[in-house]
Amino acid sequence: MLARTSRRLAGLLATLLAASFVIFAAVYAAPGDPAVFLAGGRDKLTPEKLELVRAQYHLDEPLVVQYGRWLGDCLQFDLGRSFKYSDQVADLLTARFPTTLALVAYATVLFVVLGVGAGVLAAVRRGTWIDSAVVGGTTLAASVPSFVSAIALVALFGVQLGWFPVTGSGEGFTGTLHHLTLPALALALGALALISRVTRQAMADAGAADHVEVARASGIPEREIVLRHVLRNALGPIVTMCGLVMAGMLAGTVVVETAFGISGIGSLLVGAINTHDFPVAQAVLLLMVTGYIVVTTLVDLVHPLLDPRVKEAAA
């Protein structure tokens, strides 16, 4: 057990290290010149001034040296200072991460409740009009890109009806809930089809098992069969899928944050990449990678608890 955990941990660190270098190289290779954004104004873009700026931010050093400098600081828990904002990167992240986390959590609750609910409904009423309506409706929702649904939601519920605020992330619990409802909905809509399909299919597979037939024959009420035998056995793939979708969302809030004027890590990342703010882009992307790894690892750990068969195989 201990050996397995340490192997896992080592793998995690190796993944992060590799990811950090790839990210650094990618931001470095992106088109555009960071010095231009740091020089401050077009009338200041003289060759001498640009030279000065490059030296000041160590931009004139080779990629590997710059990366080494960043890694050294990082190992001392210093993520550096943002080029664009003179602030500590760590401070920028702590200020914005909760907003993005709240948004993703809210969206996750929405797509799990609605998606799994719709999937169960479609599975139970298989072949009826309800089934077709669920499949059709969720497919339609999934085919609309999130920036389109974001703009449509704002236009209707924000600007026209005035039920929800159009920008910002709100104060306090109810304020945050009120502000984040539309963005979370826009984020969750795309995931509905996937989750409801997976749920429907997993339920169908579990429903075809022999012990379900036996249970039906012995006269156990249908409700109980669905809950105790079918849904329980179908949980494995459903939870895995929900976990993967949620992990993906951590990196996918960019569009929605921009449409709703929310300052989360998504909009921070876009700004950082556009202005070549290495330290910030690096930290945000690593945070996203870490989030993804953590969520998928958790799913891996939970899976055996849900499905005894997996546990036996692992042992």
Binding site: R42, L50, S86, D87, A95, T99, T167, T258
Partner: protein
């Protein structure tokens, strides 16, 4: 400077613009221009530097910026978002007025015993927000900080020989050569007075969220929640007049989010940085828009590649360009056809002289007449221009620039030349301004430009033979000499006369081809009034004038 006179000048400016448009439009030759359909007729839009004075108190106002400020230390990061906030918190030795003139401010008196000496006498009774009085030591320390070559304003101090404290409330600055621009710079970020003790205490963190400000203005920084909002609060011990609005909360949003927030009343006002935002808000209920003069302009900048090396060809292109069409279809009528590279907001002194000169600008019709086109074709023939090699037009994919690029291509076609558009991603676009190698791929850039000083001479040094912004290699010894002479002429009337001559050389040679001037736009809840509409909002405590229309 009373309210009525500034109204009158603005009216005159509006009239001038209108006459210009009328003069350009009465040729009788029908042309295929983009109809100005729903777009307001740009020529008739009146630019007014101020809004009506406010009468009523406000407990608080919500203001929108187009971006979160990078930093509130304008010496290290001078973004306009930071300036819009900080100009209500910090004060400068000189102050830019809403009508774009400048006057001594924290320095209550400024004397020039000779052309190379400036003696500033500091105002008494001014306190920083921590309650300590402003001293000559603070002022000198601030000037030295601005002058550091690593800082944003370092190049403004190029002509300074020495800065010394010569009395309890006196600073004397001596110059290697007379520098008329230095006085304008003192009304900008080079004139901010910091509280030495506060700045040193904060160290590297000065200007970041969670730090107090170090200034003397009518508002003190209440707080900056990174990624959420910035608040400023009325400073009760302020030495000057008390503002009507107690507290201003700044948030930020872009494009549609900004437009939605203003439309729904979630925000009370904003200074719209892009003309396209302004046109999206045009005519919305509950919102008023005020247009003021600014120094910003849309320009075509010829490059090293040399397709527009010949001034005759540049002049021809300028003659054939449909500026009215660009204003209507690219910018919803929010910009005005213009013949000089700086907007009318740069006329911070001797306004009538610059206004009169603007009327005489040649080769820049709002819409080309049949005569203009004939003259342009003649010029191309004279130059013996190469009609086979395409002239490459550099742009990004934004709406306005795309329209300009296409208009340039159409104009080139009209005069028998070939145009080819090269579009780059926005992140790369700025490199056209900085990197000669990348500029080597295009003949002309669809650019824009503004100057931070209200003085046309703050621009014309860009065409000096040795300027890094003179891409096309314009070389004229008489021009160089006159620019240097004007920059060293402290007398406004004499400098204006020289500036007009310099401007004529520049526009006759079409070193840059001007397209339009971009007004400054104040978007305001219809119940509120007070702040200036001109570009002065970047350097003047506009929030101190904000209040309710009804007392």
């Amino acid at each position: 400077m009373t309210h009525t006179t500034s109204r009158r000048t603005a009216l005159a400016a509006g009239l001038v613009a209108a006459t210009l448009a009328a003069a350009a439009g009465c040729s009788g030759a029908t042309r295929n221009t983009a109809g100005s359909g729903s777009a307001t007729d740009a020529g008739a839009r009146e630019l007014t530097p101020v809004t009506a004075p406010a009468k009523g108190e406000l407990a608080g106002a919500d203001w929108l910026l187009e971006d979160e400020p990078d930093s509130l230390d304008l010496d290290t990061q001078g973004s306009s978002a930071g300036r819009v906030v900080l100009t209500n918190v910090c004060e400068r030795l000189y102050q830019l007025q809403p009508d774009m003139s400048t006057k001594p401010f924290l320095a209550e008196k400024a004397e020039t015993p000779d052309d190379k000496t400036l003696v500033l006498t500091l105002r008494d009774g001014v306190t920083f927000h921590d309650g300590t009085p402003m001293t000559a030591d603070d002022v000198l320390w601030s000037l030295e900080r601005h002058a550091d070559p690593d800082m944003e304003q370092g190049d403004e101090f190029g002509n300074v020989a020495a800065m010394k404290k010569t009395g309890d409330r006196r600073i004397t600055i001596t110059f290697k050569a007379p520098d008329a621009m230095f006085f304008k710079a003192l009304a900008g970020d080079a004139g901010i007075v910091w509280n030495k003790e506060q700045v040193e205490k904060a160290g590297k963190d000065f200007g970041t969220p969670g730090q107090p400000d170090a200034c003397t203005g009518p508002y003190a920084l209440g707080g900056w929640k990174s990624g959420d909002s910035i608040t400023i609060e009325r400073y009760d011990a302020y030495w000057g007049e008390k503002p009507l609005t107690k507290k201003v909360t700044f948030r930020w949003a872009t494009d549609s989010a900004l437009v939605n927030a203003l439309t729904t009343g979630a925000a009370d006002g904003a200074y719209a940085e892009s003309p396209n935002t302004a046109s999206a808000l045009d005519g919305k209920k509950g919102i008023e828009q005020h247009y003021g003069p600014s120094t910003a302009s849309l320009v075509l900048i010829p490059t090293e590649r040399g397709g527009l090396k010949d001034p005759k060809v540049r002049r021809a292109l300028s003659l054939a360009l449909d500026r009215k069409g660009i204003a209507a279809s690219g910018y919803g009528g929010m910009v005005q056809p213009w013949g000089t590279p700086v907007g009318s907001g740069a006329w911070g002194y001797e306004k009538p002289v610059f206004e009169a000169a603007q009327k005489d600008i040649a080769y820049a019709p709002a819409g080309p007449t049949a005569d203009d086109l004939a003259a342009a074709e003649e010029l191309v023939k004279d130059a013996g221009a190469d009609a086979a090699t395409p002239i490459v037009i550099g742009t990004d994919a934004s709406q306005g620039r795309t329209v300009v690029a296409n208009a340039v291509r159409a104009a080139l076609q009209r005069i028998g030349l070939k145009g080819q558009i090269k579009t780059v991603p926005t992140a790369q676009f700025e490199q056209f301004y900085s990197d000669p190698e990348i500029r080597g791929e295009i003949d002309v850039l669809v650019g824009d430009w503004y100057i931070s000083k209200a003085d046309p001479m703050g621009f014309y040094d860009n065409a000096l033979s040795d300027s890094s912004n003179n891409w096309v290699g314009f070389k004229d010894e008489a021009y160089d000499a006159k620019v240097k002479q004007a920059l060293g002429t402290l007398d406004d009337a004499a400098r204006a006369k020289l500036a007009v001559e310099v401007q004529k050389t520049f526009t006759d040679a079409a070193v840059w081809i001007s397209v339009a001037q971009v007004p400054s736009v104040l978007v305001l809840n219809e119940k509120l009034t007070g702040p200036p509409a001109s570009m002065a909002y970047l350097y003047y405590p506009w929030a101190a004038e904000l209040g309710a229309k009804k007392g």
